[in-house]
Subunit: 259 residues, 4 copies
């Protein structure tokens, strides 16, 4: 398991892009462990996987819960890579914290100020996603609920906003990268998967984010996307992620960064 | 104090518009009790007041907390009117529930599915506000997290959505009224205060909502709006609310409703 | 035919709501004349009908052109009601002007400044529709291209803006009514048909507009909407328009207006 | 002057990014000629400059008109580079066509179907900008008004859409690049200047566009942006454009393109 010092070095090193990847939802041991091993082999830094899923409809797959976190921990054991998963409320915070290295606060909780205050008291890095109806200024205000509580290890994730355009699921606001960098010292991560809504748009959006100066990427990758229990259309195959990874490395290198 | 039977009759009676009013935040006993007495005299049905305030910035007034709920309960004692206040997280749910007659779930928690599930187990009516970045379809899906838990006493509040227009704080989506009525049996309440962002636009938006078929209104009223600790620009004076109330009554009456 | 003095009285009389109605597109003599006669009988003031249609796709019905204007003029002859139709470019301005009493500039030309300057030189009233991507402030600036040219007989039409909400075709920005009234002396007309996108939402949006203080309505009405060559879903039958008309009259009357 | 064959080769060569640059508005001979000479030296391909300016307010600088086109032609004479300028209406089309090599149709005329039909009859390449309230699907439909007229030399420019986010002037919809490439064979150009609204965001947006697969860029460059008569905040200095140009070349090269 990664030491806190190593993790902090990983998260704060602006020279190296932080590559976070993994399936939308943890579905089985073989799914998450094989994905982690693939990502480890490629050089990705952090494994993501959802155990408690915030789904628009209560009738759809809601995640494996604590069982999912246990499987995610197995993926860490098998690879040594740090893991991140989403916490959906203050009640589950201790549980999630006990399993993961990095805690994710999702888009729909972007202005759940009670939860933000609680994660501000925790001694683990936080991945805070922008709400899809939230301005950059409000996003930064939300991050201050965490940092003002004493936890300054916050990473900000741009994941697309709601607009009238409907050829993609959300509109990636790539300008959020330079705007946030101007107003905050926190790293900015691009999630190209949720705005794309379709696997074939993920690579161009990822490259756009890196070219705009993002400090990392968070990408949905699944061993068999067409069989995924959620977000089936937007998760990348291993092959597609390898292609993305290679091109990201090239773009990063000419802009003074590296993978 | 109002009996549950009377409350249910009040909330489900589509003939009578449900008038909910009160200050953005509870600030003092005299503020909330005088407001409640004024509203009682006019004929309003439910007193609202915020005790736990979801504020964009952690540096602004966050509400009086439980002390605010106690003051709100005094306003109920003084008038006999039922009271509503917002719950911000599952941790505070029991506390808020112990004081109020109706529980409000705010815009920023509109897709906080953990909280929605918890209020679905409660035996009190829920006022669910639409998130400002949330579609009507998602709003209805969110309400099903509550009703599928067994609590079918849910009222849906349209309070404006995020658009490019900036002459008002949000854009009231008045078409949500007929759309929701077509797809759901739940009552629809219009909050004209938050989209207006300015007291002088509240009355026209309230009248528009009633004319579009809303089942009630929720309006911010304050004894001295210019001295309010939050939302100072959009709260109505007693005089302005009385004017609105009279016109709402007239419009309702010609459309087969009444106050 | 209506005299200019009578027309001006009609358009500037804030006491009486201005009711403009008619089909999306002029399709045949019997269609437009029968509609005009029906509207005359009801008490509507102005007949609308499109001859040059701005259609998103070049493959769809583009209107009858000058032949349509001739048929519209027959509807005026048959009823004595003034007529309005859209001009799409400066080239057709003289042609359209020679037939109609009021010239409409459509949403997609809302910031066609060349056209606005030309209609500013004309001695006929202008119905200027708000662009669906245009702020109220820009809408008012656009109107000044006309008024600064000397033509101050401009009516401003709110017809819905582009937002992320997709249960309606556009989102009616009903708050534009009080905002424009505060910043301009020009009358504000609500077009409930285009934002609704569906006939069953037209009446609630029309009533909302009137309740918010609009000075008039422009509604699409067709003798047989299901056979219409354009906008088939949103045009009202005569029966539905009569119902709307009656309710609009009631709401107007309690707010100090009349039909 | 460039031959039509050379121009077509330039515009259709997907291997080489098409670099279009120049001031928002043509202001003087020295301004436009010095800019053109600077751009020629750097290797940019096309000089842009506005002569007829579509301005939100009729009180602001509207461009030099035909005098501006003459100055732009001098810039071509001095450098041999092809020139592009905007046509605002059908009346000016012959005039603009007589001076420029490429005709631009601006955002506010994106759905001015009369103008689109007219430029569809012309034997010069068209630079069609996306309206800021227009979907990608509608943008493509608009382009078909031109191509169905026989003129298939159309380039599509993404220049930002209207959203609720207000830290930038518009939100660059970078996903439009892969979406349009999937549905059309027309080249896609990114304008990073208008969405940025501020010079300091132009480079990251330009790089994002290229990384997403754009076939070219159109950038506002001015010898002294702080003295510009329009868009003063978003035009780049020569120095800033040289920096952008160098980085664009690097990103292009690792993605199989070149300047």
């Amino acid at each position: 398991m990664i030491s806190q010092i190593e993790l902090d070095r990983l998260l704060t090193d602006r020279k190296n892009l932080l590559m976070i990847a993994g399936p939308c939802a943890i579905e089985s041991e073989s799914q998450i462990v094989s994905t982690a091993q693939y990502l480890k082999g490629l050089g990705s830094h952090v494994i993501r996987g959802g155990a408690f899923k915030p789904r628009t409809s209560h009738k759809t797959f809601q995640g494996l819960g604590e069982e999912g976190l246990k499987l995610l921990a197995k993926a860490r054991d098998a690879t040594g890579l740090p893991i991140v998963s989403e916490v959906m409320d203050t009640d589950h915070l201790n549980l999630v914290e006990s399993y993961v290295d990095i805690i994710q606060v999702g888009s729909r909780n972007s202005q759940n100020f009670s939860l933000l205050r609680e994660v501000g008291k925790i001694d683990k890095p936080i991945l805070l996603k922008r709400g899809f109806g939230v301005t950059v200024a409000e996003f930064l205000s939300a991050s201050e609920y965490i940092t003002s509580g004493g936890n300054e290890r916050v990473m900000l994730v741009e994941r697309g906003i709601r607009t009238f355009e409907n050829s993609t699921r959300f509109t990636l606001d790539v300008s959020a990268v330079p705007v946030i960098h101007e107003k905050s010292t926190l790293p900015v991560i691009i999630d190209p998967s949720h705005p794309a809504g379709s696997a074939r748009y993920v690579e161009p959006l990822a490259l756009a984010g890196v070219a705009a100066g993002a400090d990392g990427l968070m990408v949905e990758v699944h061993p068999a996307p067409d069989k995924a229990l959620s977000d089936a259309t937007q998760q990348l195959t291993f092959e597609a992620y390898s292609s993305l990874y290679e091109k990201v490395g090239k773009v990063a290198s000419v802009l003074g960064r590296q993978l």
